[in-house]
Amino acid sequence: MSMPFYVSPEQIIKDKADYARKGIARGRSVIVEEYDQGIVFVAENPSRALHKISEIYDRIAFAAVGKYNEFENLRVAGVRLADMRGYSYDRRDVSGRSLANAYAQTLGTIFTETPKPYEVEIVVAEVGQTSEDDQLYRLTFDGSVADEHGYVAMGGSAEAITLALSTEWREGMTLVEALRLAVDLLGKHGGEGERQLGPGELEVALLERSRPRRTFSRISRARLAELLG
């Protein structure tokens, strides 16, 4: 009788984490920033049909990097959860925090219990009534949650972009300032040298604080060209 090789739990976890990290690092980056009127999402994404940024509920949106089918599955689950909560209780009872919790539990379970972890990283953002109430949750493939302040970068060049954001992002930036900063950084740290990203290669959406009810909106490519000047 042959004995299976013993592999320590540490090794299994490490292998899974390396595998997931590699998958995520292959993808293009997404930046989420707070600005004076809300939260802006900027993704390098030439596809018009496969979104990396989506509306979840009135004041909550979702951004993801990694494997499309995996984060799409999470996105749909999030919309279902939010709609079900809002339908059974009230629209105000749907919170970004509870959604982030549900995602964390789900990702954690998938990471430990299935042989292949999800190769995704997601941000759940909720725009508050004031900028102090804005919430950004960053969730990684193993289910860990980080409560971020001001900005988040995910994807292949997340580290370099986060470092740049830590010096260049400041509170109370206007939409145009925040947008230009994000586009600039995505171009600089995209991988193949310095590039200038045009509206055709970007997916941009907003959570606007002052809009009634559904605060999420996409910025069309024409409008984006105008804003970037």
Partner: protein, 282 residues
């Protein structure tokens, strides 16, 4: 229903359907109105009454009175029976108020859910068909006397005009040509609309026509309320155009209702419809 799940349950990540109602049927069937136990005999519950809708090239207008009745009693004098279903459509309801309001809520979530999951809105026909199937789920309760009859109207962004859909309790869906009314005062309202409706009307004219029709319905149907000037309770009016849906606020409706009531002081039966020759004209 419980939200005991810490992680998203299997149902949430199951292969997708874009329908919220279908999702609820698997994840939380008790939340659906159609799965309730049917009462053995008819209950007495508040009933909503008259809704009118008109269409034109500008879009569609829908208006409803504010009364809910229970037998001979006025159950509520300021109930709202006309709602924005989404950005381009309106829904009004007559029938058992509790179930009707729940149906509207489910329908609103259904449309928004589809839009979020698919990234595009349903076509106006698609929305009308979804409403029909939600209504079909209520047939059991309708048999017990708890029926709901909605009226659906909206701006069709593909055809660039307003359209109206009516329904029966079995979920039958019928497109109406120019105008329609549902509820206990609908016969009187339809009679009024028939004489006052103009196919070339703009939104302004259509709103005034709808208010005249509701006044006529209230004139002859005890379950339909006329404008309550003392309490400032006026019909709810919504309009769907290419720019979206707008619900008129109280001041706006009052500004239209007050002159209408003043005109009725001298002519209680309302404006004369023009006759081709020898008629009195208005």
């Amino acid at each position: 229903m419980s939200f005991e799940h810490r992680a998203l349950q299997v149902a949430f990540t199951a292969p997708r359907s874009s329908s919220f109602a279908e999702f609820l049927a698997t994840a939380a069937p008790a939340a659906l109105p159609s799965t309730r136990m049917n009462p053995d005999q008819a209950l007495q519950a508040p009933h909503g009454t008259t809704i009118v809708a008109l269409r034109g090239d500008f879009g569609a207008v829908m208006a409803g009175d504010r009364r809910a009745t229970m037998g001979n009693v006025i159950a509520q004098r300021d109930i709202e029976k006309v709602f924005a279903a989404d950005d381009h459509s309106l829904i009004g309801i007559a029938g058992t108020a509790g179930i009707a309001v729940e149906l509207v809520r489910l329908f609103q979530v259904e449309l928004e859910h589809y839009e979020k999951i698919e990234g595009v809105s349903l076509s106006l026909d698609g929305k009308a068909n979804r409403l029909a199937s939600l209504l079909r789920g209520n047939l059991g309760l309708a048999m017990q006397g708890l029926s709901v009859v909605p009226l659906f109207a909206g701006y069709d962004v593909d055809r660039q005009r307003g359209r109206i859909f009516s329904y029966d309790v079995t979920g039958g869906r019928y497109e109406e040509h120019d105008f329609y009314a549902v509820g206990s005062g609908s016969f009187f309202a339809r009679g009024s609309l028939k004489k006052l409706y103009r196919p070339d009307a703009d939104a302004d004219h259509a709103i005034d026509t709808a208010l005249e029709a509701l006044y006529d319905a209230a004139d002859d149907d005890s379950a339909t309320a006329g404008p309550d000037m003392a309490r400032r309770i006026f019909p709810i009016v919504g309009i769907a155009t290419g720019e979206g849906v707008r619900m008129l606020d109280t001041d706006e409706v009052e500004a239209r209702v007050a002159p209408l009531v003043a005109r009725r002081m001298t002519r209680p039966n309302g404006p004369y419809a023009g006759m081709p020759e020898g008629g009195s004209g208005s």
